[in-house]
Symmetry: C2
Subunit: 431 residues, 2 copies
């Protein structure tokens, strides 16, 4: 992709309201446009990251046999009246009347709607276990939207819902999702700490939050330091992992903490996922009756499983940046490499850049090519700001020597190598 | 994908309100679930088709250098007050008040919002031409939603917006999109007739509707019969195509029709795309000022370009079905092939089915595998109903002879061939 033709509006100024680094960097790097308070539109570079995250989530959901669906964003109030949550939900629910004065709402979550789908279409225990998930826009009318996409009003969420025959089966589903979430975040280059959670407004009795570590996080986490060691080893024993101590500050009591102080880590975290088991709360309230093995009907055991997809873009930046800009983990980077032609209006370096651009593209590597008519300083600053993992820098001498600089954004390490070596390095771990 | 574990709720009964064949078939084939009048949720099989359509659109948009973005579904009323359309739009606009009693709406279209993005980020004519597109949910509060996803209230649309320096450039953009749309629909296995259109509520002075031919279409089209010949030839001269006569009935006047009667086709069509050039209507009203080559500011010339993504699923079924069910064009089919194991509880046929399923999957072929414990009649009917292009039928004798039936859903032709030949046939045109 040639930068000279790409819609990438980089900004020097950031809105005064942008208090946290990810919010500022998302504006400066041209990832988002603010449409209204807590309502953002995604520009091309930001949308690429959002889609990378979506793809990883989908692959991991599909891997464990969950079914991908897409529910409408607008829901009839009737469903929420059935579950008893319509009045209880409060002002965060965006309530809407249609032209016939009927009550609707913009879904803040979808337990009712998915329960309606399942009670319409599933009649026998033989169709269980069933786990339906979607990636869809949600709206929660936060009183004070802030921190950009981290606490927006309209946001993209992966939400999944499970239906099981009994508690034992529901517990197994919960554990499978638990492990799957650890794998999902790990694939994004993140260390996610699963902490026991109060189940809050949704209700229930088994719940974990997944928090990724970032100095600017809102939560303070207390957890066993073996967690990080185990999570970052090449072979993960997920079952072992889940036994480790990890709680938020309000649940931590030094007097009763089961692990010694020198084994205890205290770090800030950002919630990026949340899973719940809540039994028959919705299936009973909404009359989801399924015929069991004994011929009698029963209410399936349910759980719900969320990942904040748009929030993750901000959270990843909080966890991975420096004073020059974003440092994308490779798995979610909008492009894998950026080619920087340092010399203005020079046919030889242009032709070298063009050729490398084509070669990489043909090899299936997503590459951005800074062919703009700008000074080297501007190009270096742009590349560091937008945080593409690898920079290939073509200078005046490159055309004679055949040597370019290959810079790793994260470590800052620079190697002087040939174009063939660049291609080899960028394709070697590319499936 | 094993059908025994897939969420595919096939139905015998269809809702009384389902008057047209595509609506009935979408329910019977388990593609959608009705959440409320004109509001549907997409079940796994339907969502796969929706995504196939999305992918073709995106590839064709990217091919001509358009930029992929995603605007929020909720928009502030302010933008529409600026353009003068807030009051004019009428009851089809879903108007919303947030918790602070501020006016918002669920976007029925996005001219205002995209103009706001461009006026914020684009300052120089050097950044033109610019064409931003998205695929996003829209809401139009139809007074009588009907025909399922064909005239729903919440629907998925591809909408693109162009910004050009002057009329000449805008006209070229319009033409490029015009050709691109013809290619897009053709890739979906559809013949789309571009008819001159009144520009309707959006306003403007250059506009075409793209109609696909279907006996149940709402519009009556009068067009040059050379259109179909040219559109279906292997090499298309798009420029030639656009010169052919094609209008809707209200614009057709036999007295002034420029082509002889024996060259005139009269067929029913369904609108699946609509393109508009509308000059500076929004850029002027909303103060989108860009600095031109002469240093003076100007309002860019704009156009908008829509494709009804969710509507296309219904429209394709209207255009391609028989009395047994859907006949998906290959390019949009949810799976390319379905393996049908006809023999209940038979280890040998199961093992043959398993093996073929794995082989095809490994070859990158999307395959559904009917391993359900059902009678042959049920399996044949299901396969015909859901319209997968190729059926591979494994019978009792197949395990001895190594021969299976390979049935083409559209033509009904059956060949008796080996498994190797099945794999060869399904992979040969698979890039």
């Amino acid at each position: 992709m040639r930068l000279s033709r790409y819609f990438l509006p980089l900004m020097k100024e950031t809105p005064a309201e942008a208090q946290i680094i990810s919010h500022r960097l998302m504006h400066r790097a041209g990832l988002i446009h603010k449409t209204s308070a807590g309502i953002y539109s995604w520009l091309p570079l930001g949308l690429r990251v959002l889609e990378r995250i979506e793809n990883i989530i989908r692959e991991e959901q599909d891997r464990i046999g969950n079914h991908y669906i897409k529910m409408s964003t607008i829901q009839p109030a009737d469903l929420w009246i059935e579950s008893g949550r319509y009045d209880a939900y409060g002002k965060e629910m965006l309530r809407i009347k249609d032209r016939h004065n009927r009550d609707f709402l913009y879904g803040p979550t979808n337990e009712e709607q998915v329960t309606d789908i399942v009670r319409t279409h599933v009649k026998s225990y033989k169709d269980l276990p069933l786990n339906l998930y979607q990636i869809q826009w949600k709206f929660r009318d936060e009183i004070r939207p802030r921190f950009g996409v981290m606490r927006g009003r309209e946001f993209l969420m992966k939400d999944g819902y499970s239906f099981d025959l009994n508690f034992e089966a529901a517990k197994k589903t919960y554990q499978d999702i638990f492990y799957s979430y650890l794998r999902t975040f790990r694939r994004m280059g993140l260390t996610a700490i699963p902490v026991q959670a109060d189940s809050g407004a949704i209700g229930g009795n088994m719940s974990h939050e997944f928090q990724i570590l970032a100095e600017t996080g809102e939560s303070t986490l207390y957890y066993d330091k073996r967690y990080e060691e185990m999570a970052n080893s090449t072979h993960i024993d997920y079952e072992e992992l889940t036994r480790l101590y990890a709680v938020e500050s309000e649940k931590h009591n030094p007097a009763t903490c089961p692990i010694p102080e020198d084994q205890l880590m205290v770090k800030k975290g950002i919630e990026v996922g949340h899973i719940f088991y809540f039994g028959t709360k919705y299936s009973a309230a909404m009359g989801l009756n399924i015929t069991g093995p004994d011929g009698k009907t029963f209410h399936p055991e349910m759980g719900s499983y969320g990942i904040g997809v748009s929030r993750l873009v901000g959270a990843i930046i909080e966890a991975s940046h420096d004073d020059k800009g974003i440092i994308w983990p490779e798995a979610v980077a909008p492009f894998k490499a950026i080619i920087i032609d340092l010399v203005k209006s020079n046919d030889a370096t242009s032709s070298m850049g063009d050729q490398l651009n084509t070669t990489l593209k043909n090899a299936g590597i997503e590459v951005l090519y800074d062919d703009r008519d700008e000074r080297p300083g501007v190009k270096f600053a742009s590349a560091d700001l937008i945080g593409i993992p690898y920079q290939v820098i073509i200078g005046k001498k490159s055309t004679e020597s055949g040597i370019v600089e290959f810079k790793h954004r994260k470590s800052g390490q620079i190697q002087e190598i040939t174009l063939d070596q660049v291609v080899e390095k960028l394709t070697k771990d590319h499936a």
